[in-house]
C-alpha cells in the first residue's frame, strides 16, 4: 500500500472504533507505529514523516489514536504532574485516557523528541480538519442573503484559521527535516499548540450555535485540539527556547540545508 492509501485506511478503520479502548486495540493491530522503524529492528522501514502523515490524517478526521505513544512511549511532566498519555485512570476533555503517576521520571532524549514531533503532527491534523471545515461552512452558510464568507469580518476569521494551520504545518515540516533536534521539535509543538487554540476558537465563532452541537461534530475536532495543546502547553515549552541565544536559535529549522 502506498502512504496515502495507508492514511485513508487508517481513517476508515479508526472511524469504526466503538470507543477509545477499541481505537487503541485497532492501532496496535494495524502496526502503523512500526513505520519509521528500520526493518532490521523489526519495523516497516520508512521515515518518521511517514508515521506523522498517518497521525495527521487520523486527527484531521477528528479521530483518536495512541499511534504517537505506540511509536514513542513517553512519560510526560505536565503542570506539576507526571502523566502517561493513553495510560489508564483519567480522561481528558476529548475522552482520551491518560494515567497520572504518583512518582516517576519523565522521558528524555530521542524518544521524547520523536513523540513531540508526532504529537505536533496530531495537532496539525486537528488544525487542518477544523480550518477546512470552517472554510467550507463559511462558503456555504447564507445569512443576510449571501454566504457569510462575503462579510470581511468573517472572511478574516477563515483566513486566520487557515493561516494558523499552515504555520503549524510548516513548523512540523521543520521538525521532520531535523528529527534529532529536540529544540526544533519543541518549537514545532509549541507553535502547533498555540495554533490549536486559535483554530478551535475561530472555528466555533464562524460556525455559530450549530457548531457547539454534538450533531454537527465540530466538537470532535475542537475538544481534541483543546486536550492535545496541553501535553504540555506552550507556557511550559516556550521557555525552553528563550535562552538559546541568537546563534543557536537561528540554526533551528535549517537542519536539512
Amino acid at each position: 500500500m502506498s502512504l496515502p492509501d495507508v492514511e485513508e485506511a487508517a481513517v476508515k478503520v479508526l472511524g469504526a472504533a466503538v470507543d477509545m479502548r477499541d481505537a487503541a486495540r485497532i492501532t496496535l493491530d494495524q502496526g502503523w507505529h512500526l513505520l519509521g522503524v528500520p526493518e532490521s529492528e523489526g519495523g516497516m522501514g520508512g521515515t518518521l514523516a511517514d508515521v506523522a502523515g498517518v497521525v495527521r490524517a487520523i486527527s484531521a478526521a477528528g479521530l483518536s489514536s495512541p499511534l504517537p505513544e505506540l511509536h514513542a512511549p513517553v512519560v510526560l511532566a505536565v503542570a506539576n504532574r507526571v502523566v502517561v498519555p493513553w495510560g489508564d485512570g483519567e480522561e481528558n476533555i476529548a475522552g482520551e485516557p491518560y494515567a497520572v503517576l504518583a512518582s516517576g521520571s519523565p522521558s528524555t532524549g530521542a524518544t521524547l523528541t520523536r513523540w513531540r514531533i508526532l504529537h505536533a503532527a496530531r495537532l496539525v491534523g486537528g488544525c487542518q480538519g477544523a480550518a477546512s471545515r470552517t472554510a467550507a461552512y463559511a462558503a456555504t452558510r447564507a445569512q443576510f442573503g449571501r454566504p457569510i464568507a462575503r462579510f470581511q469580518a468573517v472572511s478574516a476569521l477563515v483566513a486566520e484559521a487557515h493561516a494558523q494551520s499552515v504555520l503549524a504545518a510548516a513548523g512540523l515540516e521543520a521538525a521532520l527535516a531535523d528529527p534529532g533536534n529536540d529544540f526544533v521539535a519543541i518549537a514545532a509543538l509549541a507553535t502547533a499548540s498555540r495554533a490549536g487554540g486559535v483554530v478551535a476558537r475561530v472555528a466555533h465563532q464562524v460556525h455559530g450555535a450549530i457548531g457547539i452541537t454534538r450533531e454537527l461534530g465540530l466538537e470532535r475536532l475542537t475538544r481534541r485540539l483543546w486536550a492535545w495543546r496541553d501535553l504540555p502547553g506552550e507556557a511550559e515549552l516556550e521557555p525552553l527556547l528563550g535562552l538559546l541565544g541568537e546563534q543557536r536559535a537561528w540554526t533551528l529549522g535549517a537542519g536539512d540545508e
Binding site: 472554510a135 470581511q152 535562552l243 541565544g245 529549522g253
Partner: protein
C-alpha cells in the same frame, strides 16, 4: 562550506570592517548604493534568473536581513523586476536592464499605487496613449519608495478604458531620466525618507520597454505579487531588534522570547516552502499572502517583546517602532491579504 555559511562569512566580514551598521527594516530604509554595487560585484544580485533559483536567494536574503545589511537600493530590482523582465521582457529590455541590475547599478522603484488606487490597485488611472514606436504615459504614482534616486521605474498603466477594470492594464518599464518624469519626496513620520510621489507628463516609453503583453497587466501583476509578498523580508524587518532582545533576555523573559523563537522557526520554514514552489515554476499567491500576514504580525510582536525585556537599547526599539506602521500596509494590507487567504482556503475545500 554550505551556501549559507559562505554568505554569513562574507556578511560578517563586511560588518566587522565597518562596511555597514546593522539596522531594522534595512530592506526598505537601509539605502546604500555602494553596498548594492559591492553585492553586485560578488555576483549576489539576480540569483533567480542567473541559474541559481529562489531557494538560493532565500538563503542569501535571510542572512542579509538577519545582519541588518543595507539592501534597499537594489531590493525591488532583485526581488520582482529582474525576474519579471527575465520572464516577460523583450530581448532589448533584457539586454538593456539585466546586466545593470546584476551590477547593482540599475535601481528600481515601483509605480503601482496612485492617490485613488491603493488597495484597489485595479483602479489605476495613469494612462498610456499609443504613439509612434511606443507609448506616452500620463498620470501620478504615489508611495514609490526611493523614486527620487531610482534609475528606473516600473509603472502599471491603463492602455484602454472600455472593458472591466481588470482588463486594459499594461506594465511598463521607464527610465527615470526620461523627459516628463518628476519625483518628489513625501516626508513620513520620521521626516524625509523613502516615500515619494512620481508625476508622469507624457513620458515616452518605447514598445520594447512594455513588460509582457499589452492589456494583460492585471494577470501579470497579481502573479508577481507572490514574489513581492512571499520573501523573508516580510518576517525579518525587525530581526536585528530581536537579536538584541535575545542578547538582553534573562530567565524571566524566556517564555516571551521562546514564543518568538518557535514562531520564527515555523515562519522561516514557510518562507522556504514558498521559495521552493517558485523554483517549481509556480506563483504561490495564497501561501505568500499567508506568510506576509503572519510575518508582519511577528515583526511587530518583536517590538513589543523588546519593550518588555530590560536592557534592550532604546534607539533600536524606536527605529523599529517608527518603521512598523508600514509593515502591514506595504505590499498589500493585512485586510486585503485576509481576503486572498480566505479565498485560497475556500478554494481548497470547494
Amino acid at each position: 562550506m554550505t551556501w549559507r555559511e559562505q554568505v554569513r562569512e562574507q556578511v560578517d566580514a563586511w560588518r566587522r570592517d565597518g562596511v555597514f551598521t546593522p539596522r531594522s527594516d534595512s530592506w526598505l530604509t537601509g539605502y546604500d548604493e555602494d553596498f548594492s554595487r559591492r553585492l553586485g560585484a560578488r555576483g549576489w544580485i539576480g540569483l533567480t534568473w542567473r541559474g541559481r533559483g529562489f531557494l538560493d536567494r532565500f538563503v542569501l536574503t535571510e542572512e542579509l536581513l538577519r545582519a541588518g545589511a543595507p539592501v534597499a537600493a537594489h531590493w525591488i530590482a532583485d526581488r520582482q523586476i529582474g525576474p519579471a523582465v527575465a520572464r516577460l521582457g523583450s530581448a532589448k529590455l533584457k539586454a538593456g536592464l539585466l546586466p545593470g541590475i546584476e551590477a547593482g547599478e540599475v535601481r528600481f522603484c515601483l509605480g503601482m499605487s496612485e492617490p485613488d488606487a491603493g488597495s484597489d490597485l485595479a483602479s489605476v488611472r495613469t494612462r498610456a496613449r499609443r504613439t509612434d514606436g511606443g507609448w506616452l504615459l500620463e498620470g501620478q504614482k504615489v508611495w514609490s519608495s526611493h523614486a527620487h534616486r531610482a534609475t528606473h521605474a516600473y509603472v502599471l498603466a491603463r492602455t484602454s478604458t472600455e472593458e472591466h477594470k481588470h482588463q486594459g492594464l499594461t506594465e511598463f518599464v521607464l527610465d527615470m531620466t526620461s523627459p516628463g518624469v518628476t519625483a518628489r519626496q513625501i516626508p513620513d513620520l520620521r521626516g524625509p525618507g523613502h516615500f515619494c510621489e512620481v508625476f508622469l507628463d507624457d513620458v515616452f516609453v518605447p514598445d520594447w520597454a512594455v513588460l509582457g503583453t499589452v492589456g494583460d497587466g492585471w494577470r501579470q501583476v497579481t502573479g508577481q505579487l507572490a514574489f513581492e509578498r512571499g520573501g523573508p523580508e516580510r518576517v525579518l524587518s525587525t530581526y536585528p531588534l530581536l537579536a538584541l532582545t535575545m542578547a538582553a533576555a534573562g530567565p524571566a523573559d524566556a517564555g516571551r522570547v521562546g514564543e518568538l523563537v518557535a514562531r520564527l522557526t515555523a515562519l522561516r520554514r514557510l518562507g522556504k516552502q514558498v521559495a521552493a514552489r517558485m523554483d517549481g515554476g509556480e506563483a504561490p499567491i495564497g501561501p505568500a499572502a499567508t506568510l506576509k500576514m503572519l510575518g508582519n504580525r511577528f515583526e511587530v510582536d518583536v517590538i513589543e517583546a523588546a519593550r518588555a525585556v530590560p536592557g534592550v537599547p532604546r534607539a533600536a526599539i524606536d527605529e523599529a517602532l517608527l518603521a512598523s506602521p508600514g509593515f502591514s500596509l506595504r505590499g498589500g494590507t493585512t485586510e486585503v491579504l485576509g481576503v486572498v487567504i480566505a479565498r485560497e482556503a475556500m478554494g481548497a475545500v470547494a
